[in-house]
């Protein structure tokens, strides 16, 4: 049912791949290969924190992946999106562990290119077994009985799941007397409902309150017994308590924790118990990996090296523990990541994005080894800096001038549309861009498509007049049709006019609009789809925080939804304005590039025509990480 499975190193070398579909053969280059797309759109852009759980959709495929950071491997599985496969996570985990257990030692050596094709057999084995297990589970899947539903818990019968014996309830009421005096006049029914509402947390106490009533309720002794039972069963393995959830899932009597050191014994008992009772299947469904540990133990047999490494003994072991690299765990990272997230938010990065980013960084760090003298914080910082740089570095060329010359060579005017919400500085930055273009001896036409706000056309006229006066021989004209007309039509006329008059660039100024205003967004989509401009530039102010996400996603969504085209246009670039006002709270730059994946073409740094700058990625990253 899979399409493609592969293991690749973070350096890009494919170690093993297996294809089940005719389109995704290894060695044959496929345009838009899902794994390529995964690397390009998710891993490089640090979006893995967001998508790791529900996978990444590419065309008709769904891609799921997992990291093995110690060895720097990525495991990828591709399958058809319409197949709702539930076992992929389990399969990936098994895939990862089987592969690392088999080849772990070879992978740490650098001098030889190993042949991993022998893994194919093992992989097939895993797939067939996981699939068989899944279909088995499906076969045994029955509709829930009424007793199991949430509704049942609210019924009277549901309140007393295992009706206790009479004498027990007597005990119970006696015992509870001291605690329930303050229960007050609440009716027994009411208190029971409250208990049900409170859920598992207050279960025992709630029931205790009801103890005063005549009706027998599930006894406290009952629950106490439960607790003592749980305590008796707890085993201490290597100074660590086996958690209660583990024990619930422990189906074999002889199992001792999760120790994989004795695989044969585990396999024997586990298989036996499963074949005997039918309950096993139902239990197994609740848990993704609970049963797999022992069932697949033969595949997951650890290599000698691993078992040795896990138990350093003696003086040398102690020394090595003291000085050697330490492997990062999620628990180590979580508090730090929380701090990192707060720090980013304090720098005005949108909260949602800070969370995704930290999740992604954390996913890339878990399992990695850090030197003994590196603090956790510096390790995180070391990862954070290139990640931020990577996000802020443009994916496409930001050389607008080069595009303009290319268009000029084709004999057509290059058109740029400025969009954005009200008052962010569209017209002002349009005039700054215009000044820069004039400096490069280009003929510019400004199209006044803001036919709504009074004074908009006059504002542009003043700019055009100033710009003409500033530069000798500068050609800058204003194309306007007054107020209240259809902006899409004006833009079309303007581009046509520019073509006949020999202008090189058309700058289209649009009316500011809030991202939620549907009629205006429709008008904008129409303007874009009828004119198909070369660049759609979103003008956003650096002052926004969380709003940046909303603005950009909604502008992009509107351009997509209302265009009526097969391949709708999206925002191609961003101008970040009012950058001189924000000091080091430069988070908006990160938020905007992260959402759109588009470059920040210019940064507005002041009020005059020359205050237009190219963004400096390094200084933005430094500002973001300052004071950490």
């Amino acid at each position: 049912m899979l399409d493609f499975a592969t293991v690749l190193t973070k350096g890009g070398l494919v170690l093993f791949s297996k294809s089940y579909s005719s389109t995704l053969q290894p060695g044959v280059s496929v345009p838009n290969h899902p794994v390529d797309a995964l690397v390009r759109d998710v891993l490089v852009e640090e979006r893995s924190g967001k998508m790791a759980e529900d996978g990444f959709n590419k065309d008709s495929w769904k891609v799921k992946w997992t990291f093995e950071n110690k060895l720097g491997l990525i495991f990828v599985i591709v399958y058809q999106k319409i197949l709702q496969l539930t076992y992929i996570d389990e399969l990936l985990e098994l895939f990862k562990r089987a592969f690392t257990n088999t080849y772990g030692e070879e992978l740490t050596k650098l001098d030889a290119l190993s042949d991993f094709s022998s893994f194919e057999e093992k992989f097939d084995d895993i797939v067939t077994r996981v699939e068989a297990k899944d279909s088995e589970a499906k076969k045994h899947r029955k509709p829930r009985t009424f007793q199991e539903t949430a509704q049942f818990a609210n019924t009277v019968a549901g309140q007393q799941p295992q009706l206790p014996a009479k004498e027990e309830s007597n005990n119970d009421s006696k015992e509870n007397d001291d605690s329930t005096d303050s229960a007050g006049p609440t009716t027994p029914n009411m208190s029971r409902k409250l208990a049900a509402l409170r859920g598992g947390r207050g279960g025992a106490r709630g029931r205790g309150r009801g103890g005063k009533s005549a009706k027998p309720s599930p006894s406290r002794t009952d629950s106490e017994q439960d607790i003592t039972k749980g305590k008796q069963k707890r085993t201490w393995v290597d100074g660590l308590a086996g958690s209660s959830s583990n024990e619930k899932l422990d189906f074999s009597d002889t199992k001792e924790g999760d120790d994989v050191a004795v695989p044969e014994a585990l396999v024997g008992t586990a298989v036996g118990s499963r074949t005997e009772d039918g309950v096993y299947d139902a239990l197994e469904m609740d848990d993704a990996y609970g049963g797999t540990e022992d069932e697949f133990a033969d595949i997951l047999a650890p290599t000698e090296e691993e078992t040795k490494a896990s138990k350093p003994t003696g003086v040398f072991g102690f020394l090595r523990n003291l000085t050697s690299a330490k492997t990062l765990t999620k628990e180590d990272l979580d508090p730090l990541m929380l701090r990192m997230r707060d720090h980013l938010i304090s720098k005005n990065v949108a909260a949602e994005i800070a969370t995704h980013l930290c999740g992604s960084i954390s996913a890339g760090l878990v399992g990695e080894k850090v030197g003994a003298f590196t603090t956790l914080k510096s390790a995180v910082k070391q990862h954070m800096e290139p990640a931020l740089k990577r996000i802020l570095t443009p994916r496409t060329s930001t050389d607008v001038l080069r595009d303009i010359f290319a268009a000029k060579a084709q004999g057509r005017p290059y058109s740029i549309v400025f969009v954005g919400v009200n008052g962010v500085g569209k017209s002002t930055n349009l005039s700054k861009v215009c000044f820069w273009l004039l400096q490069n001896r280009l003929k510019v036409l400004i199209a006044a498509c803001d036919t709504f706000r009074s004074g908009a056309v006059e504002q542009l006229r003043v700019h055009a007049r100033n710009l003409t006066a500033l530069e000798e021989g500068a050609v800058v004209d204003l194309f306007d049709r007054g107020y209240g007309k259809d902006p899409a039509g004006i833009a079309k006329d303007a581009i046509h006019y520019a073509k006949t008059q020999g202008h090189d660039v058309v700058l289209v100024d649009t009316a500011g609009r809030m991202q939620d205003n549907e009629p205006l967004m429709r008008a904008l989509a129409k303007l874009v789809s009828t004119n198909d401009p070369d660049k759609i530039i979103f003008v956003g102010e650096a002052l926004v925080g969380n709003e940046a996400v909303d603005q950009l996603t909604k502008f992009n969504q509107a351009l997509k939804d209302f265009s009526g085209l097969q391949t709708p246009r999206q925002i191609d670039g961003i101008i970040l304005t009012k950058f001189d006002t924000i000091d080091d709270k430069v988070g908006a730059a990160l938020s905007m590039t992260y959402i759109t994946g588009q470059p920040i073409l210019f940064v507005g740094m002041g009020q005059t025509y020359t205050d237009l700058r190219k963004m400096n990625v390094k200084s933005i990253v430094n500002s973001l990480l300052a004071g950490l």
């Binding site: 350096g11 890009g12 070398l13 280059s29 690397v39 390009r40 490089v44 852009e45 650098l110 030889a112 290119l113 290139p386 740089k389 990577r390 996000i391 570095t393 443009p394 994916r395 496409t396 060329s397 050389d399 001038l401 080069r402 010359f405 820069w436 400096q439 490069n440 210019f602 940064v603 740094m605 237009l612 700058r613 190219k614 963004m615 400096n616 990625v617 200084s619």
Partner: protein, 227 residues
């Protein structure tokens, strides 16, 4: 009384002078360590995505026949646009750069290729040390591949246009950078690779095809000549 008072007030002064001296000495040592040129033994493999960087890297690493003079570091850099900037982290210790391009898709990718090569050429360490560059025109076993002469011509033309627009771009954000990158080549002449101080060599090759083209060996020689 006076004497004691003066000597007591001199004490912190002496301490200050001593610590200043220490600081200067330490600073000088650190500076010396940093400026030593001896560690420059790194070779970079650069190029766009899908041009064959990793193939070259692993062939250099694992093939016995390729001339390996002595211990050198070879860095396989990612070709993705967002990761390219990291080449500049290595340029201070770079001895030579191998730039790979896909000769079959050059017509489509010429702008990205030229931009990347331009960024390498204007890098201040690459300029200062005149780091030699070997341009591998890969995939020459395929039918649509361009020869190295044609590749050179195309790239030169594109860099010529590129340097004009780069020079005309708006200033970068931090003001203290004076004037941006240096202008490549000569002002009033079309750009040629001979105009730059770095030795730029073009070689046609096919890294996964037959060894007739000898791409890996050319790289091996390139490395051997520089060490």
């Amino acid at each position: 009384m006076m004497e004691i008072a003066t000597s007591a007030s001199n004490l912190p002064l002496i301490a200050a002078v001593l610590s200043l001296l220490l600081l200067v000495i330490v600073g000088a040592i650190v500076y010396r360590l940093k400026s030593t040129d001896g560690k420059r033994d790194t070779f970079l493999i650069t190029g766009l995505s899908d041009s064959g960087k990793t193939v070259l890297y692993y062939r250099l690493q694992h093939e016995e026949e390729v001339a390996k003079p002595r211990l050198v570091h070879i860095v396989d850099l990612p070709g993705h646009e967002k990761l390219r900037f990291r080449f500049s982290e290595f340029t201070p210790i770079t001895k030579g750069i191998v730039f790979i391009l896909d000769s079959t898709t050059l017509n489509r990718n010429i702008r990205s290729v030229a931009e990347y090569l331009y960024d390498i050429l204007v890098n201040k360490h690459v300029q200062k040390r005149e780091v030699p560059i070997l341009v591998l025109c890969n995939k020459n076993d395929l039918l649509l591949a361009l020869g190295k002469e044609k590749v050179q011509e195309l790239v030169e033309g594109e860099i010529d246009r590129l340097r004009a627009t780069r020079a005309a771009g708006v200033e970068a954000q931090d003001e203290d950078r004076n004037g941006g990158d240096d202008f490549l080549g000569y002002e009033n002449e079309a750009f040629k690779f001979e105009h730059v101080p770095n030795a730029v060599t073009f070689v046609s090759c096919s890294l996964i095809g037959d060894d007739d083209f000898g791409g890996v060996y050319a790289v091996g020689e390139f490395i051997a000549n520089l060490t």
